[in-house]
Amino acid sequence: MILQHNKKMEATIVALEGRMDAITSSDYEIKMKGLIASGERNFVVDFEKLDYISSVGLRAILATAKQIRSRNGKFLLANVHGSVKEIFTISGLGSIFPFYDSIDSAMAFFV
């Protein structure tokens, strides 16, 4: 999985690419822990280029969301489409997160 991040206004955009599975989900967790530890509070996770997610990935998403919210931060998911969206839905996690259709619509939350 490829992870990239950049800061835009009040939020850090984390873009995921490839597969988020039993092996790669820990890369995401490490990256997010580092960003949180460096003081970032608000996040938009971009799923545009993520092809696959398993329950290990879903748990990692949920764990970071809890961490950020416990610090009064915001954690938003954007561009969740196709089979990845379907997995969010069938796992039951889809009802916990609102999905934003684009990075811009998620960023509007911080304006």
């Binding site: 599975d21 039993a22 329950s55 879903l58 997995i87």
Partner: protein, 363 residues
């Protein structure tokens, strides 16, 4: 009518038939099915002593065929055989092919033999070819002549050794319809065939042979609709399978996924099915994860071409594993995904093996 007990046949060190026993009653139509190279044709050839068995006994109407004093040619007159490759005499006309044996072996006069031959050729729809030679006929026509020639000897038993295997697909049905009509005349018939629909329609009993034994036998509806044994199911449902052994919690997920992808590509499974299959495997292995340091696990993915279905079997040896549990602490996301991707989930404990089976939901 035919009683076979403990029949065995070896070719060198290769054991082709192993302890085969069967009773065939008068008027029965028996189809023998099974994978190639499993001894079906050898079994038929042993019944007719074209191949000599190495052990066991064969009785035809109470006569011991393997007794050196038995007049085997006389028995063969009662029990004729139709071969894959027709075995017609190419230098004789069709009529002569049908009359030579009745004249020479049954002592029939030529006129009577020719009259009977014409009747038989009419029956198989080839009376107009009586003066032709075998090379002037199509494969299907040759095989129909071979059947008529077989009937000319007035056998009580006919053995068919893959009678349509050498035929162009367009000619199979003409031969099968002739055999089908014979099945209604009370003849005892044993048919080795790969034509499953035909075997289902025509047989009173179906024998599934595998690796030199009668693996399962029963009426057609049992064998074709509800086979009881694993290898029969795999054969009937045209199951292709993939196996992967996992012996450590640090198994190589990507190597396994790559092999599953290759298997799916070979079976031409749609992309969505592949995605769901890989996700289902990963989710299930997550549930197994804490056990993998204590037990080894065998994963089998079986695709049935006939049913267009994918079944997964996770079999572990050792400690009993209750995989799907509603107790607190169970991975709820993983379980939800598994339940949504499957039509059925089953669990069995057999001796020291725990087996979890899943049927992938159709997309």
């Amino acid at each position: 009518m035919i009683k076979i007990e403990h029949l065995s046949k070896n070719f060198g060190t290769l054991s082709v038939l192993k302890d085969i026993s069967i009773d065939i009653r008068e008027g029965e139509v028996i189809s023998i099915i099974g994978p190639s190279g499993t001894g079906k044709s050898t079994f038929l050839r042993c019944i007719n002593l074209l191949d000599c068995p190495d052990g066991g006994s064969i009785h035809i109407e109470g006569i011991d065929l393997l007794d050196p004093k038995t007049n085997v040619p006389k028995i063969r007159q009662k029990m004729n055989m139709v071969f894959q490759s027709f075995n017609l005499f190419s230098h004789l006309s069709i009529l002569e092919n049908l009359t030579i044996a009745p004249i020479k072996l049954l002592g029939m006069n030529k006129m009577e033999a020719e009259r009977k031959a014409i009747d038989l050729l009419k029956m198989v729809g080839l009376a107009e070819k009586a003066r032709n030679f075998p090379d002037e006929l199509s494969g299907g026509q040759k095989q129909r002549v071979a059947i008529a020639r077989c009937l000319a000897m007035e056998p009580k038993i006919i053995l068919f050794d893959e009678p349509t295997s050498a035929l162009d697909p367009t000619m199979v049905s003409e031969v099968l319809s002739v055999i089908r009509s014979l099945s209604k005349k009370g003849l005892t018939m044993v048919i080795v065939t790969h034509e499953m629909d035909f075997a289902r329609d025509v047989s009173s009993r179906v024998i599934f042979m595998n690796e030199g034994i009668i693996y399962e036998e029963g009426p057609p509806h049992q064998i074709f609709e509800n086979p009881h044994k694993e290898k029969t199911k795999a054969f009937i449902y045209r199951v292709k399978s993939f196996n992967y052994h996992i012996s450590s919690p640090d198994y190589d997920l990507y190597a396994m996924n790559a092999e599953i992808e290759v298997f799916c590509e070979k079976q031409i499974l749609p992309r969505k099915v592949r995605q769901n299959l890989i996700l289902l495997v990963e989710e299930t292995l997550q549930l197994y994860h804490s056990y993998l340091s204590k037990v080894s696990l065998d994963l089998t993915i079986a695709y049935s071409e006939k049913m267009d279905s994918v079944e997964l079997v996770f079999e572990s040896t050792g400690e009993e594993i209750i995989l799907i549990s509603s107790e607190p602490g169970t991975d709820e996301f993983g379980l939800n995904i598994i339940k949504n991707l499957t039509e059925e989930i089953g669990y069995q404990r057999i001796q020291d093996k725990s087996r979890c089976t899943m049927k992938l939901k159709k997309v």
